[in-house]
């Protein structure tokens, strides 16, 4: 059932790769593109990342900024057919395992590890342990709110933690903090994306076009290397509670796709393999739903139309259709 509508709500939260959205909202870029397609787009900031995804899953929002893993685990596993419209970046060091006073990953054995359970941090930990032949059984995971990571690190009984930027940067300033493993070693596995409701997208191509347009215009501005780019990045840094230098530091740990071509190229790589790591982690932690019998329970449709996993239950899709339009200047 086609349902064309005019008002769209998209949630975003503070994270290095998503700050451009806030900037676009504050500086009229969102309005410009919305006007162009004669729709209204409201970008709403969530203090709590997960709440935004929940809202999206419950149907209150048309799109949300999320990682591929959370998109699969929450809306898709919740039966909401979701599409990754744009991958803005992948984490290239933003997520890190930090040990206090120890500098080797192996030293984590037997420790209590503070992290946001079932989040990307958890995934990083699982992948890291897997790489050195350990498993989660070798550590004790303590669920800790992301807002309190820095405070938590300051307490004596916290000796190991997994978290993301800007907390990582802040914590690594401590003398005894060692980054023993980070997402540089998992290139492309943690994708920060704009996820939209597939049905909404199909019914409202204008929405998809406008969002894509907003993103790449902001990206162009940001990567310009001129004074305007500096000013934009400074504003983004400010909004995330740090300054230009701090923001640049975070960007350095982020592989941004400043151009549509970058994103298209990424999807043509080993995306199928990457998604399987994520599916496996989610399955192992029961996050694909109680009915899931294997990591392949939910099918993922790649940009070229091939399906990874169960073709009868495709609930997460990658699309480059609109990025291609942007690349061709057809938006």
């Amino acid at each position: 059932h086609a349902e064309a509508k005019k008002d769209f709500k998209v949630g975003w939260s503070i994270y290095v790769g998503w700050m451009p959205w806030g900037y676009a909202m504050d500086h009229g870029i969102v309005k410009k593109w919305a006007d162009k397609y004669d729709i209204n787009i409201e970008l709403v900031q969530f203090n709590d990342y997960i709440e935004g995804i929940n809202q999206f899953t419950a149907g209150a929002y048309d799109g949300v900024m999320a990682t591929n893993m959370d998109a699969l685990a929450i809306p898709s596993a919740g039966g909401v057919d979701s599409t990754i419209l744009v991958i803005g970046d992948y984490s290239d060091g933003n997520d890190a395992i930090i040990l206090k006073g120890k500098d080797k990953l192996e030293d984590i054995k037997g420790q209590k590890v503070n992290l946001v359970e079932l989040s990307v941090s958890h995934y990083v930990l699982a992948r890291a342990l897997e790489n050195i032949g350990m498993s989660e059984k070798d550590v004790t995971v303590v669920n800790t709110s992301d807002a309190d990571m820095i405070a938590a690190y300051a307490t004596p009984d916290v000796t190991a933690m997994v978290t993301w930027n800007p907390m990582v940067a802040e914590i690594l300033k401590e003398k005894d903090a060692y980054n023993v493993y980070d997402s540089k070693k998992l290139p492309g596995e943690i994708q920060d994306s704009l996820v939209v409701n597939t049905q909404t997208m199909k019914d409202n191509p204008a929405f998809a076009k406008a969002m894509t347009g907003i993103w790449y215009e902001t990206m162009a501005l940001m990567s310009g290397g001129d004074a305007a780019a500096e000013a934009a990045k400074a504003a983004m840094g400010e909004a995330s509670g740090t300054d230009l230098a701090g923001y640049e530091e975070q960007l350095a740990a982020t592989k941004m796709f400043y151009t549509p071509e970058g994103y298209i190229g990424f999807t043509e790589g080993n995306l199928a393999e990457l998604t399987q790591f994520v599916s496996k982690f989610l399955f192992d932690h029961g996050l694909l739903g109680q009915d899931a019998t294997s990591p392949d329970y939910i099918g993922i449709e790649l940009a070229d139309g091939t399906v990874v996993g169960n073709a009868d239950n495709v609930l997460l899709r990658y699309t480059t259709e609109y990025a291609k339009m942007a690349a061709e200047g057809k938006l």
């Binding site: 949630g11 504050d26 709403v44 900031q45 969530f46 203090n47 709590d48 709440e51 935004g52 929940n54 809202q55 419950a58 209150a60 992301d146 807002a147 309190d148 990571m149 820095i150 405070a151 300051a154 800007p166 907390m167 802040e170 300033k173 504003a235 400010e238 909004a239 509670g241 740090t242």
Partner: protein, 271 residues
């Protein structure tokens, strides 16, 4: 030697004694802060006075570079608006349901068990549900505050209403009053000051819910700022904000008490 219970400090001594714990806290803070700062001059946990003063100036007296607004002012307005609307809604609901539940046996039979159970549900636990049902806008925050305190206000007011001497209700009936007239002229006027008591008692919880709601979804507000700053452990901002919230809470409580005294003179006249 008189017994300790019979010894009354005079005004001057009383004032001095009152200051002691406050001064003790300040001194303890200074010592701890000094110690930490001498170990690590960049320590953020217990910032020195000058750092705090700078933060206060930045938040309260200088316009924000990004938005040009005064952050403390803007946060305060946001939070107080939400709190005000939430508390007002809860007061209205609490007033109506409380009076009816306390006065009318059929109403009480229908709702008292239900509000009893409602008031036992910890609102923080249903926070996720509330957000999902009411969205993440201003509405959800207001609803959380209202939902959080309304059951308490209802139950408190229903109890107070039941405490109205049965004699008064009988007397009103012998004067020919209908149920509606009793509510309007006898019960509601006597319950308004009690309602204020109930609201005062639940203000603490209201602040709590507001802060919790702002922590999850917001782009301004005192709770939002504290949780945002928590990510960076910017205690130089958090501490003044906590002090400010405390002051606001105190002022609100005082204002309600004052209003009660002025608006309901009959309670305070005579003895």
């Amino acid at each position: 030697m008189r017994r300790l219970i019979n010894r009354q400090p005079d005004v001057v001594v009383r004032f001095g004694l009152m200051l002691i714990p406050f001064i003790a806290v300040v001194i303890a803070y200074m010592i701890a802060s000094e110690a930490r700062l001498s170990a690590n001059p960049n320590d953020k946990l217990l910032p020195g006075w000058s750092t705090i003063a700078a933060a206060i100036e930045r938040m309260a007296f200088l316009p924000d570079q990004r938005t040009g607004s005064y952050l403390l002012l803007q946060d305060t307005i946001s939070s107080l608006t939400r709190l005000g609307i939430g508390v007002a809604v809860a007061t209205l609901i609490g007033g109506i349901f409380g009076v009816l539940q306390g006065l009318i046996p059929y109403f009480r039979a229908t709702f008292s068990a239900f509000t009893g159970v409602l008031s036992m549900i910890p609102p923080l636990a249903v926070l996720p549900i509330l957000f999902i049902v009411f969205g993440l806008g201003e509405l959800a925050k207001v609803v959380l505050v209202a939902v959080g305190i309304a059951p308490f206000i209802i139950r408190d007011l229903a109890l107070r209403t039941e405490e109205i001497p049965h004699e008064e209700i009988i007397k009103a009936q012998t004067l020919g009053a209908s149920t509606w007239q009793i509510i309007l002229r006898i019960v509601v006027p006597q319950m308004l000051p009690r309602l204020i008591d109930g609201v005062r008692l639940s203000l603490g919880a209201a602040w709590l819910f507001l802060i919790a709601a702002e922590a999850i979804a917001s782009d301004s507000g005192l709770g939002y700022r504290i949780f945002l700053m928590r990510r960076y452990l910017a205690m130089d901002v958090i501490l003044p904000y906590v002090a400010w919230i405390t002051l606001l809470a105190f002022t609100l409580d005082f204002a309600l008490r004052l209003f009660q005294r002025i608006a309901f003179r009959w309670m305070y006249r005579g003895n």
